[in-house]
């Protein structure tokens, strides 16, 4: 017997979680943009979106994060380490690809040196994923061996009921169990008919792609120059990616005080790797696009055993020149063997 969360109990759940000290965040649409934001009631949520335009990553790795506050005096410099808020958070209505993105980035932020800014937020968050009921032309989770109901990165997975009245619950972690404990009196016991998962066709042959990328002969292939020709070198694919994690560290302030910040940065930008001497190891857009693809489907896998892509398709969805991971990996798939 599984349990069911009825849509009309969602407001009570939110209230109960809030009472237990959680902030509740969910997909919201504000000022013509969808993202994850704090909600007070179910009516604030935009749960019918296929996917928010901004990723959930933003809530764990914000676009600008204060690290250290400093004061520059005549005789001394005072500095104070700044830490992220420790508030407990429930993320309700996360899509499986976004939740997977968090799980994909965990080993990167954790290897050897632990990034406290990421993990303090991770440790205080509970991820409630809702399986997809619809997909669009850009979704490609199945191509990267995930699915519209993937539980990767999820503490709780909800499957929408056919009649739209609520969700069937699956729990995966202790954290998820504890979250549901808070609202146990609001849940029903029972089985409902769940919405069929959308058909997301596989768009490329991942095995073939990884083999081709792994062949050193292909690193300097003309392929990269041709495929990246129209790339304009903006950072939108990286900034809207649920797994891209590159950043810059910058001091910002006046002569007397300021803040050292960790800011998003992008491998698409020429400045990203440029030495002070002017030498730039990745000095063309094609080498930068190659880096992005290689990093996601070769280097990252070598380090952490997983590809750095969860198939959300945002890179293609919002690219001003209609590029993206899908096109490149399709083109590799279609290369003559």
């Amino acid at each position: 017997m599984t349990r069911i969360l009825l849509r009309n109990k969602l407001d009570d759940c939110i209230a109960a979680w809030q009472k237990a000290g959680f902030s509740v965040l969910a997909p919201v649409k504000r000022h013509e943009m969808s993202s994850f934001g704090e909600v007070q009631k179910s009516g604030d949520m935009a749960l019918d979106l296929i996917l928010t335009e901004r990723t959930i990553k933003d809530q764990f790795f914000p676009q600008t994060e204060p690290l250290i506050k400093y004061k520059i005096g005549k005789q001394q410099i005072d500095s104070e380490t700044m830490t992220p808020p420790e508030k407990k958070r429930v993320f309700f209505g996360v899509r499986p690809c976004d939740a997977s993105g968090l799980a994909i980035d965990d080993p990167l932020f954790g290897w050897d040196y632990k990034d406290d800014y990421w993990f303090r937020r991770r440790d205080n968050s509970v991820i409630v994923t809702i399986a997809c009921a619809q997909a669009d032309d850009f979704c490609m989770c199945t191509s990267v061996k995930l699915s519209p109901d993937s539980a990767k990165g999820a503490d709780v997975l909800l499957r929408p009921l056919l009649e739209g009245s609520g969700w069937q619950i699956e729990v995966f972690t202790e954290r998820g169990k504890a979250l549901l404990e808070i609202v146990s009196s609001l849940l029903l016991e029972g089985n409902g008919h769940t919405f069929p998962l959308p058909q997301v066709p596989e768009k490329f042959d991942l095995e073939k792609v990884m083999a081709w990328l792994g062949d050193k002969e292909n690193f300097e292939s003309q392929f990269w120059k041709d495929i990246a020709l129209r790339c304009v070198g903006c950072g939108s694919c990286t900034f809207l990616c649920p797994t891209c994690h590159c950043f810059d560290i910058q001091d910002e302030g006046d002569t007397y005080q300021g803040i050292r910040r960790k800011n998003w940065d992008s491998c698409s930008f020429a400045l990203f790797t440029m030495h002070t001497s002017g030498h730039n190891p990745r000095n063309t857009q094609s080498t930068r696009w190659r880096q992005r693809i290689m990093h996601k489907f070769n280097y990252y896998r070598g380090k952490f055993g997983v590809n750095s892509c969860s198939g959300c398709g945002r890179c293609t969805r919002q690219c001003p020149v209609d590029m993206g991971i899908t096109e490149t990996l399709q083109a590799i798939t279609n290369l003559p063997r």
Binding site: S79, T83, F247, G253, K262, H279, R282, M294, Y299, K303
Partner: protein
């Protein structure tokens, strides 16, 4: 917390060459110093910073046998290095590290050592040189080949004199053609050429090679002609870095994160990297 640097006091500043300075830094806090002493090994690097300007990556130029202080030598070129170059004794700067891997000098014991450096790349080499010279009895013949563009560009001039005086070190100094002064007594020529003329034996010898990419390329070829194998040649790579701890994503050459798996590599390891990414 990660990314939080140690405050460091500038003990002294020495100009090495036009635009090149060495800072001697001491730890402000005892616990930071203890951490450094427990972790620093030759070849590792750090991020040197000034609040308000940022951080810049370079090696620790002092040896692992002298851990009371940190020395760093850098060319004044960007925003951070320009500010560091304008510090005075007593000023507070920051250090984050030591990060990265190291030269496995205990594996060098009982062997001949050949150090080759070009220009501003003597500092990382110097850290290994002194780490070995401070335990001189553990190593056999020590040869240092050092070249710069001009006589003025040679760094650590006092130490070069010192090495020249020692009879347990063979020092081969050179400057590029046209870079010599009228009273220059040493070689004139590029490092690879001078190295081949000096013809150190590859027998039981470890080479440590640091320099600009173009010098590395030609010197490796010269070493190969002398009979050195790529496994016995060590070098350090430098790339732009921001975090120093394998997260910020910019320093990799192919799949290799310079900050974590480097900066010290054998020539064989460097040759296995995608050359177009260097």
């Amino acid at each position: 917390m990660i990314y939080s640097p140690f405050p460091m006091r500038v003990v002294s500043k020495r100009q090495e060459a036009p635009g090149v300075n060495t800072l001697k830094l001491e730890f402000v806090k005892q616990e930071d110093h203890e951490f450094f002493k427990a972790n620093y090994r030759t070849g590792m690097f750090g991020l040197y910073g000034v609040f308000g300007e940022g951080e810049s990556t370079f090696c620790v130029a002092s040896p692992e046998t002298r851990k009371d202080y940190i020395e760093c030598t850098f060319r004044q070129s960007g925003r951070v290095t320009s500010t560091l170059a304008n510090t005075d004794a007593g000023d507070i700067v920051t250090f984050r590290g030591p990060y990265g891997n190291r030269f496995p000098i205990e594996q060098f014991e009982g062997k001949n050592l050949l150090f080759i450096a070009g220009g501003i790349a003597l500092p990382p080499t110097r850290s290994v040189i002194w780490s070995c010279l401070d335990q001189r009895e553990k190593y056999k013949n020590v040869t240092i080949v050092y070249g710069a563009r001009t006589v003025a560009d040679l760094v650590y001039k006092n130490e070069l004199d010192d090495w020249k005086q020692r009879d347990d070190v063979r020092l081969v100094l050179t400057v590029d053609p046209g870079g010599e002064t009228p009273d220059w007594q040493d070689h004139v020529g590029f490092v690879p050429t001078v190295l081949e003329q000096a013809a150190p034996s590859p027998e039981n010898t470890i080479a440590v090679l640091c320099g600009p990419p173009i010098m590395i390329k030609f010197t490796l070829a010269a070493l190969e002609r002398l009979g050195f194998t790529a496994e016995n040649v060590y070098t350090t790579l430098e790339n732009r870095m921001k975090c120093g701890v394998g997260k910020c994503g910019r320093c990799n050459v192919g799949s290799v994160y310079i900050c974590k798996e480097g900066p010290v590599f054998t020539a064989a390891e460097v040759q296995a990297m995608p050359q177009a990414d260097l």
